[in-house]
């Protein structure tokens, strides 16, 4: 399988937010009956029609890599996870609407995945702080998805949705809030489905069409990030 043909999208988030259910819903349009713990990484494939409805419509396979674990893991676990972050084309950040901490951890997750692409030595370098400039500059498309929407009572919904809107803004990304046990949220034609479609289109565009004349896939992202300043390795 030539590396040239892949479109790889990572699905990141804390343990228990519903990444496996989400991936299953995205790929099979069905609800996952028995979600269990993800060990390592589980991959699934979604067939996506790029520019659907236009004459340039083309079918692509999008690989959704669902990486399990927690941000606070030991360095050895993070180095192991880092092997999955190679050559990625898009990131879906998943958080649990009923758990604020999972939203806060998204910053660390995104830094972990994005910084991995930067460091040529393979050593995980990050100063752990959230730097807004980094995200403004970011070339890899991000999407923020909030799960378990059905478990939020109506009265609190506005407050929660405002918070997540800020979160998505920080990442310079679109956001979708849904319940993974109900396929209605991603029904064809709904605004969520449109956002999702737009996100995947953006991923494919960045991957195949907006190249600065570079033929080698993946390295152009490295060039855009690797400004040269290596932040010091600092882990508690």
């Amino acid at each position: 399988m030539a590396a040239l043909d892949r479109v790889k999208v990572l699905v990141l988030g804390d343990s228990g937010v519903g990444k496996s259910s989400l991936v299953h819903l995205l790929c099979h349009n069905q609800v996952l009956g028995n979600p269990s713990w993800t060990v390592g990484c589980s991959v699934d494939v979604r067939i996506h029609d790029y520019k659907e409805g236009t004459p340039e419509e083309k079918t692509y396979y999008i690989e959704l890599w669902d990486v399990g674990g927690s941000v606070g893991s030991a360095t050895s676990v993070k180095s192991t996870r880092a092997v999955f972050y190679n050559l990625l084309n898009g990131i879906i950040l998943v958080h649990d609407l009923t758990n604020k901490k999972s939203s806060q951890n998204l910053y660390r997750w995104s830094l972990e995945a994005l910084n991995r692409d930067v460091a040529p030595t393979g050593v995980l370098v990050t100063n752990g702080d959230y730097d807004r400039e980094q995200f403004a500059d970011n070339q890899i498309p991000l999407l923020v998805i909030g799960t378990k929407l059905d478990q939020i009572p109506e009265t609190k919904r506005n407050e929660v949705l405002t918070r997540t809107a800020f979160l998505a803004e920080d990442f310079n990304a679109e956001e979708i809030n849904l319940d993974c046990t109900n396929p209605r949220y991603l029904a064809a034609g709904s605004s969520n489905a449109v956002k999702l479609s737009r996100f995947f289109d953006k991923v494919i565009e960045k991957r195949y069409f907006l190249r600065d004349g570079n033929q080698i896939p993946g390295f152009s992202e490295r060039k855009r990030f690797g400004g040269g300043t290596l932040k010091s390795l600092h882990y508690d």
Binding site: M1, S15, V17, C41, Y61, V83
Partner: protein, 455 residues
């Protein structure tokens, strides 16, 4: 008057312990979760606070701080509260949270929680029958009945943990057991992992394409096509679905393989980190410490065996025996009373602090490993239960490490328990736990390099 002062000192210290338990809960245990039920946090902190107060009272006993009658009063009070929490409150809340996780029983939450609690009480009571822990003098609902059963559970836990800890500690500290891992090994394994992921992806693509064409063809086939068309559709779809299920089986097998490879890679990374750590100064220090601990571990196993085989229970505590030895054999004369008090204070203090710290660290690790957002409340309450029982039985066992004059208050407060039984039971379980840990670690160690060697 002095009673009031003593009580206020005790209350202040309890509030301090409560605060510490609260912080520990927030910062360490629940750092990835949002606390929605504050009851859980309160119960955990209260259990922690009262357990620590018990230890504090032992220390006060040794140092002679506070009035003796007010100490006795606080002991009794503390014990009653802890037993109330461990036997009534925590199990009830565990039952309540377990029931609230099950959606079916949502309506009758309280009823089912009570049912669960009654089941727990039944088994808890039955626990006392096979053990010779009580004299029949006491009535049904007395402190001695409850403490004896709590003690049995707690002592079993303590012995299991310390047996495993005694063996695991030198195993992790000493670098003799570290397998040699090179960067090339890790890279090779990672490459295998990525190859497996690629294979899974290509197979899933085939399945997805087949599903899509079937779906599109299925729509076409909804129109009536006639006799031959129907037969054709049956045969083609049967064969393609058979094909699909074969591919699905292959995908499942590959996914299992990818999980194993991931775990192995994580293991290799961890070993590499440990190798690098062992080259540092701290690592070398721990290595030497590991040798000492292994000697200590062997000695403890030996002593436990002797105790069981020769059916003896130590009459004197290590402090007094140590002092006797120094006075009689080494001829050093010093004020026995003064030094015995201070040395036993230090010894008991160290035992208490290390056991609290060790337990909290173990609990935290355990919690991270098995909790999820749904079950976090139940697990924390279980941990609070274990912690309470552990501390109560530490008090039982610590009695043996103290000189006679300080044992009286524990004996008085806890009533006529068969202390010797607990020590014997501890030795038995410790031996069993240590030997099975050795077996388990030996097997795990043997198996790992073989897995690693296969290309």
């Amino acid at each position: 008057m002095s009673f009031l002062i003593d009580s206020s000192i005790m209350v202040t210290s309890q509030v301090l312990f409560f605060g510490f338990g609260w912080l520990f809960f927030m910062r360490k245990l629940f750092k990835d979760y949002e606390v929605r039920q504050y009851v859980v946090q309160v119960i955990f902190s209260v259990t922690f606070a009262f357990s620590c107060t018990m230890f504090e009272l032992i220390i006060f006993e040794i140092l002679g701080v506070l009035n003796s009658s007010s100490r006795y009063f606080h002991w009794k009070l503390n014990l009653c509260v802890i037993l109330l929490i461990l036997v009534f409150m925590v199990p009830f809340y565990i039952g309540y949270f377990v029931v609230s996780n099950i959606r079916l029983l949502h309506r009758q939450k309280l009823l089912f929680a009570c049912v669960l609690w009654l089941t727990f009480m039944y088994f808890f009571w039955k626990l006392g029958d096979p053990f010779p822990i009580l004299s029949p003098k006491h009535g049904i609902l007395s402190i001695e009945q409850l403490i004896s059963r709590v003690g049995v559970i707690g002592v079993t836990l303590m012995a299991l943990l310390s047996g495993f800890g005694a063996v695991n500690c030198p195993y992790t500290y000493m670098s003799y057991f570290l397998r040699n891992v090179t960067d090339a090994d890790i890279l090779a394994l990672e490459r295998r992992l990525l190859q497996t992921m690629d294979m899974i992806i290509s197979k899933k693509k085939r399945i997805a394409v087949a599903h899509r064409t079937m779906f599109q063809r299925g729509e076409v086939h909804n129109k009536p096509t006639g006799f031959w068309g129907m037969i054709k559709s049956v045969t083609t779809s049967v064969s393609s679905s058979e094909n699909l299920s074969l591919i699905q089986q292959e995908v499942d097998a590959l996914e299992e393989l990818s999980r194993q490879l991931f775990l192995e890679t994580a293991d290799l990374h961890a070993t590499k980190e440990r190798i690098e750590y062992s080259k540092t100064f701290q690592g070398k220090y721990f290595n030497v410490l590991g040798y000492f601990f292994s000697i200590y571990c062997v000695w403890k196993i030996f002593m436990a065996t002797i105790n069981i085989v020769f059916d003896r229970v130590g009459k004197t505590d290590p402090v007094t025996r140590g002092i006797e030895i120094t006075v009689n054999y080494l001829g050093i004369q010093f004020d026995v009373k003064f030094w015995s008090q201070h040395i036993s204070f230090i010894l008991v203090g160290i035992i208490i602090v290390t056991s609290i710290r060790g337990l909290l660290i173990t609990l935290t690790k355990f919690f991270y490993a098995i909790s999820s957002s749904k079950s976090s409340n139940v697990i924390v309450l279980l941990l609070a239960q274990i912690m309470g029982m552990y501390f109560v039985s530490s008090v039982l066992l610590i009695r043996m490490s103290m000189p006679l004059e300080y044992r009286t208050i524990i004996t008085e407060v806890l009533g006529e328990l068969q202390f010797n039984f607990y020590h014997r039971w501890f030795d038995v379980i410790f031996l069993v736990s240590a030997l099975s840990s050795i077996l388990f670690l030996y097997l795990a160690h043997k198996q790992a390099p073989e897995k690693h060697m296969t290309p």
